[in-house]
């Protein structure tokens, strides 16, 4: 599983499998650039743990905000008991740190006997490395301290359970809070929140669901659409399925609900992956709801004795058969099982239940608890889905190998120095430095020497003249650059995700839009740019990863940089021309003198002519233009386009009637016995010749009924 930007990661732990649900989300009201979500499920000798770390990162400003870790320990299938989510931050709030600095972000005190340390590297703004280190110290049971709050949020923690803040109405700006709530003694709901992401946790049918909600002050009011609802004893039930399971239970007026859940196999397994089960018996207010409208609901946890409340608000979008949360992260935990994240270069790439599988997690030995060293164990390399290593591919020989040309990697300041050298140096007569410059290409990137295989620095020589400017000759003239990866979602989860019902397009920076085949649905795509360092031409490639292999599926040409014009006056040529003319005039003067002395009038006249011609030529040479221009302008427009990759999915949504299966039937195409199926069925390949005792007319009639639609009830008990 790759961590992708701008998309939430959802990991489902279920039995022997770990799968990624891949919940999409919208960042309309969100100002941060990147969302990283790191989830970890682990088990020590005594404890099962699920950890969710959500990090909002503003890459440009190198700002990390609201690191939200959550630990849930001691999972059992019977009771959560005291095992609530506990979050404690020694250093809550924002963290601004320079490049390369290693920050100890949070110290967590888990419940009872667990702790977690997080380390996050900021690697030259190129990525973040998240490291976890587990410990099991003596645990101090903590709750938000009512004596130290900002707004409604605790800023410190108190180990006296009775001394808790009793009312939480809204989330504050900073800080965090946690809360335990055991409302009926049979199961425990957990709510944890900070300024951005509240969490709620539910137990339902011995399954535990952790859901991360998104707080907002946005409120939506409107009319509740009850066109598809029914009134059952004062509660309005909004049906999402025809199997008797309801998603929202309303009560009238400014509606509230007693339960939000869906247990529909269709909703959870096939219709869309965004459904979560809820079992909340003391909850909630739903401010508004209508088909396909954006709504908000508020969950209020609490009892009157003692008075404890936690209010969480979030957005959701309703559909007849789904609840689409704009923000969310779900962890399902079906059974006690240990999953180990496979961490490579700071990112979780997969999960495994084989503890012997290698992972960077095994190599972390940076200390315990607060003893995380100030410096990272080793300099992190540029990693991440959007900052793949620049990789060189020196397949071909260099021009410089043949002695024709050399290409230097220079900076803007070195370029300015070169300009100064060109315009102020007193070059030898006849020397034209511009004739030795063949190209100057500007890249809108910081091309590192490593990426270009640049060798040892030395002075730039142009036509044999030493410029005195130190730079390196690049060791390759072509390379490629990974821009990022993206897990393309299947929006429908059925045939509608494929052509001709859905089209997929990818925008490659500096290249433009390219249509990709529907093979990308449900797979990860990789964007890579191959480019020529000598002229800035590029080819953007789109790969799809299938079964571990990358398959090239689309390409588009473009320009990553631009040719830059080099202009100036060839002073050496100019001076050489003038000198040559003056020499000619001098030779004429000598001839005049020689002719007069020898009495050779013809020679004297000829010499006089040479004086006049030479002086005239020198005058012409002095007034002539020796301006040189190399390269060309233009071709920059693409550089002003977006510098990120985009995926556009144009899909088809089917509004499937709830009774579709009963009246038309879902496409099945499965062989078997008639008794293998139930309900409305349409069959093919029906051979009734073996029905003993039936007439031919009866056999044909049976065949026709089976082929046009039969409703199969189970055989009655004998």
């Amino acid at each position: 599983m790759a961590i992708t930007t701008d998309s939430y990661q959802n990991i489902e732990y279920s039995g022997d499998t770990v799968s990624q649900i891949g919940l999409s989300k919208t960042l309309d009201n969100y100002t941060w650039d990147e969302i990283f979500n790191f989830q970890y499920c682990s088990m020590s000798n005594r404890l099962n743990r699920i950890v969710t770390l959500r990090t909002a990162v503003n890459m440009e400003n190198s700002l990390v905000r609201s690191v939200v870790p959550l630990t849930i320990n001691n999972f059992t299938t019977t009771s959560l008991g005291y095992h609530f989510a506990d979050m404690s931050a020694d250093e809550p709030g924002e963290y601004i740190f320079p490049d390369g600095m290693y920050c100890k972000i949070l110290w967590l005190q888990g419940t009872r006997s667990a702790s977690i340390n997080y380390g996050i590297y900021n690697s030259n703004k190129n990525g973040f490395k998240i490291v976890t280190e587990w410990d099991a110290p003596n645990f101090i049971y903590t709750l938000p301290d009512p004596q130290n709050t900002v707004g409604d949020c605790a800023t410190s923690w108190n180990d006296n359970e009775s001394d808790v803040k009793t009312t939480w109405s809204t989330m504050g700006s900073y800080g965090s809070l946690s809360y335990r709530y055991n409302h009926d003694g049979t199961h425990t709901d957990i709510a944890v929140a900070n300024d951005i992401f509240p969490y709620i946790m539910f137990q339902y049918n011995n399954h535990y669901y952790l859901h991360q909600l998104r707080q907002s002050t946005y409120e939506w009011t409107g009319t509740v659409d009850r066109s598809d609802s029914k009134n059952t004893g004062g509660n309005w039930l909004y049906s999402i399925e025809d199997d008797g399971v309801y998603s929202l239970a309303f009560t009238g007026g400014n509606v509230s609900t007693q339960g939000i859940y869906t247990d529909s196999a269709r909703a959870t397994a096939s219709q869309n992956p965004y459904n979560y089960r809820y079992d909340t018996t003391t909850v909630t207010d739903v401010y508004a709801n209508a088909d396909n409208d954006d709504c908000m609901f508020k969950l209020t946890y609490g009892t009157t004795s003692p008075s404890r409340e936690l209010t969480i608000t979030t957005y959701f979008r309703t559909k007849r058969a789904s609840l689409l949360f704009w923000a969310g992260c779900g962890v399902k935990f079906y059974a006690d099982k240990l999953y180990k994240p496979i961490i490579s270069d700071g990112f979780v790439t997969d999960y495994t239940d084989n503890m012997d599988t290698e992972s960077d997690l095994d190599n972390w030995s940076g200390g315990t608890r607060h003893d995380i060293p100030d410096e990272p164990p080793s300099p992190p390399s540029p990693t991440g889905d959007n900052v793949d290593d620049m990789t060189v591919n020196p397949l071909f020989g260099l021009s410089s190998d043949a002695g024709f040309a050399a290409y230097y990697l220079i900076t803007a300041s070195q370029l300015a120095s070169l300009h100064t050298w060109l315009t102020t140096t007193a070059f030898p007569d006849g020397y034209d430095p511009y004739s030795y410059i063949i190209s100057l290409v500007q890249f809108p990137l910081k091309l590192s020497p490593t990426w270009c295989l640049a060798g040892t620095s030395g002075s730039i020589h142009i036509g044999g003249e030493d410029t005195g400017i130190t730079a390196s000759v690049i060791g390759t003239e072509q390379t490629y650059h990974g821009l990022g990866t993206f897990d393309v979602p299947r929006l429908n989860g059925n045939f509608l995700d494929y052509d001709p019902y859905t089209q997929y397009e990818v925008y490659i920076p500096c290249c433009g839009w390219v249509t990709v085949p529907d093979i990308v649905a449900g797979h990860q795509i990789v964007i890579r740019i191959n480019y020529d360092l000598t002229d800035a031409s590029i080819i953007g490639n789109v790969y799809v990863k299938i079964n571990g292999d990358s398959l090239l599926i689309a390409s588009k040409s473009g320009m990553m940089g631009r040719q830059t014009v080099v202009t100036g006056e060839a002073q050496g040529v100019k001076s050489a021309q003038i000198t040559s003319a003056l020499l000619s005039a001098g030779t004429g003067a000598l001839n005049v003198a020689t002719g007069l002395i020898s009495g050779n009038a013809v020679a004297a006249v000829s010499g006089g002519y040479n004086i006049v011609a030479g002086l005239a030529q020198a005058n012409i040479a002095g007034n002539s233009s020796y301006t040189r221009s190399i390269g060309s302008t233009g071709g920059r427009a693409l550089l002003c386009q977006y510098d990120k990759c985009y995926v556009k999915i144009t899909t088809t949504r089917a509004d499937i009637p709830l009774n579709y299966g009963h009246t038309i039937g879902y496409i099945c195409n499965k062989p078997g016995k008639v008794s293998d199926f139930s309900g409305y069925s349409v069959f093919d390949n029906v051979d009734t010749s073996g029905i003993s005792g039936a007439t031919e007319r009866e056999r044909q009639l049976i065949k026709r009924i089976l082929e046009t639609g039969v409703i199969i009830n189970a055989a009655p008990s004998p």
Binding site: T5, P509, C510, I649, I667, P671, D687
Partner: protein, 149 residues
């Protein structure tokens, strides 16, 4: 002939129909030759409270197609055989059939296009942003490749 009368509730295309028994062991008399597919019999019964019957001698269920009260307190009854119910056990165990469509959503083969499902479908557009070129935003940060000979 011995006839059992029923009130069937299920539709004609239901295998293993649901019905209530109205009367069992009713004697019927044939009027000439009796077609096993479409029998016409004189029933020693005078009520019309049934819509389905079973003839033991034929081993078949019948939908009532017509019935008329005749002098003597009898009913002239015509029926159409229901082979689906008459041979329900054989049909239920019929093998090597291909179920093209089914009501159970869990059996839905979602990868197969369903032309019925796209009726009334609507288009939606989704956009996602990812990755970065790591562009520099200041000219002084740009890098250059200088080619010389």
């Amino acid at each position: 002939m011995t006839v059992t009368l029923y009130n069937v509730k299920s539709a004609s295309n239901v295998l293993h129909k649901s019905y209530d028994t109205v009367q069992t062991g009713i004697t019927a008399t044939a009027r000439g030759a009796v077609d096993v597919d479409r029998p016409e019999i004189l029933l020693n019964y005078s009520s019309m409270n049934f819509n389905y019957f079973y003839i033991s001698e034929f081993g078949r269920f019948y939908n009532v197609s017509s019935r008329a009260l005749v002098p003597g307190g009898h009913i002239l009854l015509s029926g159409e055989s229901d082979p689906l119910e008459s041979f329900a056990s054989s049909v239920y165990n019929l093998n090597n059939v291909l179920c093209v469509r089914n009501e159970d959503v869990s059996k839905w083969n979602k990868e197969v296009p369903d032309p019925n499902m796209i009726t009334g479908a609507k288009r939606e557009y989704h956009g996602y942003k990812f990755g970065s070129m790591q562009n520099v935003h200041s000219n002084s940060d740009a890098t250059y490749i200088l080619g010389v000979i």
